[in-house]
């Protein structure tokens, strides 16, 4: 398809040409100046120069409409940001990591520009992973029938990442309004693009995708880039389908200031990439075609010098971040129950199984809040609603736009949740992160990214997402169907992690998660979905606050800390020993791992003096290690014996029931451990 020539050196309005030249010159001046900040030990220790990408970056920014569009620039996109509306001062504040940096207040790496107020999103250093966010926010644009596009920008080498494929595949399948811009400068740091993929033009890898247009342009040329981006946006808006724009650029300098490109590029290559300096080309053309005189351009150059000088002066004297602020914005605002303050109740009524409690709560919240969405694998197809029926009947009631299947792409599931929640703070998303918790690992890069989005954005963006995962064993599932993953995940700040054992707590914690801001990992003990022992009555609108443990059986001689499947075993053992040996055991169901109810734990330790920690996950580096260390640090003087831990040995879990039984805790093993500790 032909690209209309809306802009050319002969036809574009002079005022526009002046504005473009000003932006190009201003951007390049800052780009060239950035390394000096490092040389003077002021900052900007990471600077990825954009010189050679001038045409496409100017065009992305010019085409971007901050009222309606969402922009996801990558770390080389300085000019893109400037062209999209950031000021010179804002760029420098980011470069030298000042408190007033609009992207992150100095928290994120330099050269990662953004301005959430303008819908210019501050993205990860995991290059290209924001393609998923762009697809997600585009899903919201489409759902809310808004007029706008998501623009994602990245280098050609990062297209090798699997998540980029997931994003483009998803955008193509869902027909999402996204422009994926690939800025091709031929290198991923020192790695030539021939080492990335067979096609020299990586966009052509996607030629077989439906609902997707691919546009190639010369990213070094202002007019061709402008025309390509305008056409891409027109196409997306008119056809409701994504477009890839591959812009061929040159990288005139090293990858960043820690790279030395003369080590892998010869003089000839360095010569010809400099030869095609897009800024010089634009200037030559303005003069050659008599659109601006050299004198007029010199006046702009002088103006730019003044702008940069003033911006530098302001930025250099701006405040540094306060070291006391490091713990701000780790967690977004949680919902605080007004009625069930401690997440307890004495309701008597019909009992619900755990799976019914989840299903009922989801439906109630979806009825209550129209801006709720749920997706995942095997989520909804006629009468089937999730592999365990947690979402049964939801699609019928709430429609395919709010309840839908996702492709088998865990990173896409979570990444698009992250992206969609960027559209509006009112949105609440629930995802089944994977069919089973232990299939969640492919989503880890999005999990990590999402865990620190709120902190990284200095409190400007909270991904309001509940990740549901069917977790744990006792079903004979072996690896990928019966493992626990919380031990690994509690190591990451920024995610609330809950693990209920009973239907009422499952309902209450899910409701609280869905009413909170931020990211919550909601682990469901799948062996208890239909277990009568986990069934309870549930009061209407029941809520359980985060960070409130529940004493499932009180006692004086020993404390058991547990959660999930093993809670029931611990209660059984406690009752048995009380009957058999008059041993009084207190069983604390943690419910929330993060935040942790340290108060309830330490109070119990003070009373009993002995602690056994029981969970399914591995003992070594399992969550019990953190519990034990907490007690040792803050409750040592109360102890009358060692803090013991019972869980899985440091081994994967076998499929054969014999192997599973040998691995996981059970009432017999707990019974023996309790007896030993009581006798200590």
């Amino acid at each position: 398809m032909v690209i209309p020539k809306k802009h050319s050196i002969k036809t574009t309005d002079k005022k526009i040409l002046e504005k473009w030249y000003h932006l190009l010159k201003l951007g390049r001046t800052i780009d060239d100046k950035a390394p000096n900040y490092l040389k003077q030990a002021i900052g900007w220790s990471y600077h990825a120069p954009y010189a050679g990408h001038d045409g496409i970056q100017l065009a992305i920014g010019q085409v971007f409409d901050k009222k309606h569009d969402h922009l996801f620039p990558y770390y080389r996109d300085m000019l893109t940001n400037l062209s999209a509306g950031l000021t010179a001062e804002e760029l420098i504040l980011n470069g030298i990591s000042k408190a007033d940096d609009v992207a992150s207040g100095g928290r994120h790496m330099s050269n990662h520009f953004g301005k959430p107020e303008f819908n210019i999103h501050n993205v990860s250093s995991a290059t290209g992973n924001h393609t998923l966010h762009a697809a997600g926010v585009a899903r919201a644009i489409k759902y809310y029938r808004a007029k706008g596009v998501a623009i994602s920008s990245q280098g050609e080498s990062s297209v090798s990442e699997g998540y980029v494929y997931e994003a483009i595949n998803g955008a193509s399948r869902e027909k999402l309004p996204v422009i994926f811009v690939i800025q091709d400068n031929g290198y991923g740091i020192s790695v030539p693009k021939k080492d990335q993929t067979a096609n020299r033009k990586v966009a052509n890898n996607f030629k077989g995708f439906k609902n997707l247009r691919i546009i190639h342009c010369n990213g070094k040329d202002v007019f061709e880039s402008m025309n390509a981006m305008l056409e891409a946006k027109r196409h997306v808006l008119e056809n409701g389908e994504p477009v890839i724009v591959q812009a061929n650029c040159v990288r005139m300098h090293s990858h960043s200031n820690s790279d030395r490109h003369e080590l892998y590029r010869n003089e000839s290559e360095l010569g010809y990439v400099s030869e095609y300096d897009p800024l010089n080309k634009f200037r030559r053309m303005l003069i050659r075609y008599k659109r601006l005189t050299a004198e007029e351009l010199d006046v702009i150059d002088d103006k730019v010098k003044g702008v940069v000088k003033r911006a530098h002066k302001k930025a250099i004297s701006a405040a540094d971040p306060d070291p006391k602020s490091i713990t701000n914005f780790v967690f977004a605002e949680e919902h605080t129950p007004k009625v069930f303050i401690d997440g307890l109740h004495d309701h008597k009524g019909e009992k619900f199984k755990l799976v019914e409690a989840l299903n009922k709560t989801l439906k109630e919240e979806f009825r209550d809040n129209p801006d709720t969405f749920i997706w995942g694998q095997d989520m909804a197809n006629k009468d089937k609603g999730g592999i365990f029926n947690v979402s049964k009947g939801m699609q019928q009631e709430f429609g395919e736009e709010r309840v839908f299947n996702a492709p088998i792409a865990e990173d896409y599931i979570l990444g698009t949740a992250n992206g969609m929640s960027r559209y509006d703070d009112k949105i609440r998303i629930v995802v089944e992160g994977a069919e089973f918790a232990d299939y969640f690992w492919p989503a880890m890069e999005q999990y990590v990214d999402t865990s620190h989005d709120f902190w990284r954005s200095n409190g400007k963006f909270s991904p309001n997402i509940t990740i549901r995962l069917a977790s744990g064993g006792y079903i004979g599932g072996g690896m990928y169907h019966s493992q626990n993953i919380e031990g690994a995940l509690t190591a990451l700040p920024g995610v609330r992690i809950v693990y209920p054992s009973y239907a009422d707590d499952a309902a209450g914690l899910l409701r609280t998660s869905m009413r909170s801001k931020g990211l919550t990992l909601f682990l469901e003990p799948k062996a208890l979905y239909n277990a009568p022992v986990a069934a309870t009555s549930i009061p209407d609108d029941f809520e359980v606050p985060f960070g409130k443990a529940r004493i499932r059986k009180s006692g004086n001689d020993l404390t058991i800390l547990t959660y999930g499947n093993t809670t029931h075993m611990c209660v059984d053992v406690a009752l048995k020993l009380e009957e058999e040996a008059s041993v009084s055991i207190e069983v604390i169901d943690l419910r929330s791992l993060i935040p942790l109810d340290r108060g309830t734990i330490l109070k119990s330790v003070k009373k009993t003096g002995k602690v056994l920690i029981v969970h399914e996950d591995n003992v070594f580096s399992g969550f019990g290690a953190e519990l034990s260390a907490t007690i040792m640090e803050d409750g040592f003087e109360y102890l009358d014996g060692p803090v013991r831990r019972l869980g899985a040995p440091f081994t994967p879990i076998g499929f054969n029931r014999i192997l599973e039984k040998a691995t996981l805790p059970n009432t017999d093993k707990i019974y023996e451990e309790v007896k030993k500790l009581i006798a200590y």
Partner: protein, 168 residues
């Protein structure tokens, strides 16, 4: 025969060397060499016979100096102009875009009414794709100094012999 305008970048290396070879194949005074980087519309349009040196840059692009002159060409009436194009390419390094710039330039000139001459066989080359290919021919002379440098002189000589017949 009217004078031939040989347009190329005087700052180029391989393209300029080929230009020198081409000039030697003609009689003294037959060819006038012009630096495309500083030429004007008036100079360009003043010829009837042309040879253009158009190497392929990057993944199938025109060099910046030709790119910058395109807005001029795009508005010219080139009817009755006879134009032959040569250019350097790298069939091993860039097999997907071998000699693309020749094809891009030829298409543009033909749109403006010019007659492009000096087509050559694609035999003897190994590449995947080229915008310069028309059937089993290139729409100009593609030279691969990186991989087939020893063939350049012969290819130039044969090509010039052929294009001489088209110039008026």
């Amino acid at each position: 025969m009217k004078k031939i305008g040989l347009f190329y970048s005087f700052r180029s290396n391989k393209t300029a060397k080929v230009a020198e070879k081409i000039v030697k194949e003609f009689n003294d005074g037959d060819v006038e060499i012009i630096d495309i980087e500083i030429t004007t519309e008036d100079i360009f349009i003043s010829f009837d016979n042309y040879i253009l040196g158009v190497p392929t840059w990057f993944d199938g692009e025109l060099p910046n100096y030709w790119d910058e002159f395109l807005p001029t060409i795009e508005e010219l009436d080139l009817t009755d102009k006879i134009i032959a194009i040569y250019g350097l390419g790298d069939q091993k390094g860039y097999p997907e875009n071998f000699g693309d710039a020749i094809g891009i330039m030829a298409s543009l000139l033909e749109k403006r009414g010019a007659t492009v001459v000096g087509f050559t066989s694609i035999k003897g080359y190994k590449f995947e794709n080229s915008q310069a290919v028309r059937g089993d021919q290139f729409c100009g002379l593609v030279l691969d100094q990186e991989n087939q440098g020893r063939l350049t002189n012969q290819r130039v000589t044969e090509w010039v012999t052929e294009i001489k017949g088209y110039f008026r």
